[in-house]
Each structure stands twice: as C-alpha cells, then as structure tokens.
C-alpha cells in the first residue's frame, strides 16, 4: 500500500446523461510518476472521465481531489493552472497557424503572456526556442512551419499531445493519442509520446484501444465498462480477469 498523498484521488464519481450512466461511481488514485492506461469498449465512459477530471464537465456527484485539495467545483482554466492538462480524442488545434505557432501559443499561455499585443509572437524568441525543444522531444521538429492540414495524421496527433505537454502539467490526460492513425504508425507514435512522458516524469493517464500497445507499455491498467471500473492493477492481473477478457479482449489474450 502506498502511504503518500495521492496526486489525484477520485471518489465515487458520477455523471449521467439522461438515462445514460456514462460514469457511474468511479474511484481510483493516481500517484506521482505513474503511467496508467485507461481501457474499455466504446461508450465505456473513458472520455467522460477525462472530461470530469480535467474540468470540461462537472460531475453529478463524487469528489475529485488533486494534491489533497477538492477541485471538483473548479473550472477548467483553474485546473490547468494547478497542473492538470488534457489532450483530445479528435485533433483539436488551430488549423490556420503552423505547428510551431500552435505549440508556441500553448507555451505563451503557460507563461501568462498571451495578452501581450504589441510584439510579434515570432519575436518572443524564448517561447519559440522552447517550442522547438519540445518538438524535438517527440520528433516533430521537421514540419514545424507547416499547417496542421499539411502534415500526417500522426503528426497532428503528436501536435495535440505536445500542446498539452507545453503546459508542463503534473497530471497529463491523453484521450486516445493514436486514434485515426494507421495500425502501422500507432507504435511509433505511442513510443514517441511515452518516451517524452518518461523523460519529463509526468504522471499520465492514457486512453487507448489497441491492446498490443496497452500491454507493451502499461505499468498499470484501469479497465472500464458501462461507466464502472471493472479492474485496476498491473497488466498481468488485469489480463487474467475473466470479466475483462469477456468485454474487452474478446479472448484475444487468453
């Protein structure tokens, strides 16, 4: 048992959409430096859980504590300031500016300089320099001057993650960072993301559908189904659970 204060403690969290119990009494803890994969079939409630923790949605009931402090009533911007950052299941970036500018704006936001008006973004060389360094960390340095629509889907997904990393969060929530990418490229992308996460030591929860990826990278897996947590633990434990296999693995990892 871990005795330190958890970074994140979620207790009995609920969110219903009409009759749909998207998140239905979920509890778990995340400790400093953990890399957790969140799995579950379509509609299991994974995105809703990310939305609740990041503050994009307000829970119907339950508690979310960050570093021991109740944050369930805080809005998204305040949670970002505390150190909770999230990416999106669908690429969510500015299409009219370059990759570099997208990253630079995320950095500018963290530094609190995006109200600066009379100096060009370009002339904030410290911000640009940091953006380039960050891009190098995930191997995105080649196409930085391109617009998001001019690069591959993989690079766009990476961009989405980099913009989140640029906030230097304490807790990173990545909602399907490999969705929409060909199976062949998925490993490459998750590899770049995981090594960046490990290099920075940020606690992370990654939503992922590909079980090959999950079992290659996870130290801990949380499996959801119908708004509830089915299993939570090391990969071997989760893999051996009959119920998880039934709803998720389809006998694949029997």
């Amino acid at each position: 048992m871990n005795t330190e204060t958890p970074l994140l403690e979620v207790s009995n969290l609920r969110k219903y959409f009409g009759g749909v119990r998207a998140v239905d009494g979920v509890s778990f803890r995340v400790y400093e430096g953990e890399l957790i994969f969140l799995i579950g079939p379509n509609g299991a409630g994974k995105t809703t859980l990310v939305n609740l923790v990041s503050g994009y949605l307000k829970p119907d009931s339950g508690l979310i504590a960050f570093n021991g402090r109740d944050i369930s009533r805080l809005d998204m911007a305040s949670r970002v300031k505390l150190g909770i950052a999230r990416s999106f299941q669908f690429v969510n970036v500015s299409w009219s500016i370059s990759l570099l500018e997208n990253i630079a704006i995320a950095i500018a936001s963290r530094r609190g300089i995006n109200l600066s008006m009379l100096r060009s973004l370009e002339s904030h060389t410290d911000v640009i320099e940091e953006a380039i360094q960050l891009a190098k960390l995930v191997g995105l340095e080649k196409n930085l001057d391109k617009l998001p629509l001019e690069v591959s889907q993989g690079d766009r997904k990476i961009l989405d993650v980099v913009m989140t990393l640029a906030l230097k969060p304490k807790l990173l929530l990545l909602d399907e960072p490999t969705s929409g990418v060909s199976t062949r490229d998925k490993f490459d992308i998750i590899d770049r993301i995981v090594s960046a996460i490990k290099a920075t030591g940020i606690s992370s929860i990654i939503v992922e559908h590909d079980m090959d990826i999950v079992f290659s990278y996870a130290n801990r897996i949380i499996a959801m189904h119908s708004g509830r947590i089915l299993a939570d633990g090391p990969p071997e434990d989760v893999r051996s659970r009959e119920d998880v296999r039934a709803v998720l693995l389809g006998g694949l990892y029997a």
């Binding site: 970002v80 969510n92 009219s96 936001s109 109200l115 008006m117 370009e122």
Partner: protein, 337 residues
Amino acid sequence: MVRREIGNNIRSIVIVAVIAGLLYPVISSIMPGWEVMLTYGIILAIAALGFNLLFNYTGLLSFGHAAFVGLGAYAVGLSVKYIGLRILEVQVLIGVLLSALLALIVGFIAVRYRGIFFAILMLVTAQILWGFYVKFYHITGGTDGIRIPRPTLFFIYDTTGLGYHAFNMVYHYYALLWFTVLAIIMWYIVNSPFGYTLRVIKDAETRAVALGVNVNRYRLLALVISAIYAGIAGALYAPINRLVTPDLAYWTLSGKIVFMSILGGTMYFLGPIIGALTYVYLETIAQRITIHWYLILGITIIAIMFFMPRGLLGLTELEGFKKMARLFSALRLQFKF
C-alpha cells in the same frame, strides 16, 4: 513564420501601401474629385480592419459595426453642436471612449454567444442606436443630421480657410496618416501572442479553454479593439462627409463593412483594405452609370462571391499571378531594388 500568401506578407503590404500612397496625386490630377472617393475608401478600410480582427481572427461575425461607426461620427457631431469642439483628435478620442464603452457593455453579454446570435445581437445594438438618432431629433437633428464644420487638425491647424480642393487634399493625407498608423498597429496585434490566441479560440475553442485561456475575456477584448477601429473610422468620416446622419448607424453600413471585407478576402490581412477601396470605387462608378446602381452592385457582389470565394486577394494564389511574383522577385534580385 513566413506566410505564403501575398496579402499576409509584410513586404507585399509595404509595397502595396507605397504604391497606393504614390497613386493618390496621380489620380487626383487626372480625375478630379476621385481623391475624395479614395479618402472614403481608406476611412472605411479602418472600420473593415477592425471588423476583420473579429471575423477572421476571432471567428465572430458582427453584423452591427455601424453602431461604432455611428458613435464615432456622432461624437464629432454632438461635440461640435453642443460644446463647439472642433479639434478632431479630441473628438476622435471621445469617439474611441464611447465605442469602447459600448463594446464593453454589449460585449459583456454578446461574447457568450457565437455565430448568428452574436451577429444579431450586434445588429440589434446598431438598430437601437439608429432609432435613437432618428427619434431624439431635438438632440441629434433626426434624419437631417448634424452639419460638420471644417475641423482643426493636430490641435492647431484650422482648416476653415482652405478651398474645397485644398481641404480634400489635406484631409486625405490626414486620414492616410491615421490609416497607416492603425494598420501597422493592427498588423502587430494579429501577429502577437494575443492575435494567435484569438486564432486558437476561433479554430479550436475547447483547446483554448484546455490551455487555460479565458475565452470570453479574449473575445471581449477583441470586440473592444474592433469597436475602437470602427469608432475612429466614424469620427474621421464626419468632416469629409460634412454631415452626420443616422445612416451611419444603419444596418446597410454594417452590411457594407461585411461585404468589403469579403470582397477583398477576409483570410488576408490586406483583404479588408483592398476590399474597402474597391467597394467605394465600384459604388461610385455604379452610381454614375445608372440610378439602378444598387442592382448593379448587388449583381457584382454575387458574382464576386460566387467566382472568387476567397475575395480579390484570392486571385494572388492563381498560378499566373505567382509566376509574375516570381518574375518580380527575380528582377529585384537582378537589379537590387
């Protein structure tokens, strides 16, 4: 961070500005009277620049920018009428303050809405002001408006004694100075961290929120800046028009501002400027040719939107134009100019 399109490239902007500035004496010498048209053009370009900060960079369509133009113009009109103020810079300042205040009040509610709701809220605001100017005629002179005497420029230069042509000449360069300064400031704004944050808000609002950006505050600020531009345009409009009427707050003017920007190409920094100049030119020609000028203008507008959805500056992305641009830069390298 070089923008590929010509209308977003600082060097091309400087070239166009210099050419336009040089053209002015030529135009006024061969076609007397047209210099007034050009003055109207650059004044409306100021309003269109403000409009486009909101439209292209923030993603908010205002269908009521005439509210701010009208406020700027009436700041001049009412201050002349009631306190005899003639120093234009002070009157512009009053217009700026009033426009900013109105933008803050309306914006407080309006920035919570998007798309058509925002557009309509702005439209309603302008129509309310228009109604005020018409109905409170004992204050505003109603539809007869307020006559504007010759202004005093730069606090000391009284233009009362100038002849018709001389005043138009002086006032053109005066307006051009305002335009140049305001265009440069806008250029800095759209390329600043603030300007880029607006683009993120426009393209990916939830992302902006996820970055910790207070989206509504940025929208409000963009609206205030945009309103200030339109307010200044309105104040500068009054002396050249010599009359301030409720038309300046009417929805047709709001519509013109929208149209000018689309005509030039809202995707481009230069778009609203080129659009305003072209629009005033088209309107003048159409008015000279026929009394059915609104019809001609309408057809032209539809044709342009249909065939050139990116506006006039969209033409610069055609292959032929690019070839010419390459030729031009080759010549420039060759002859070092």
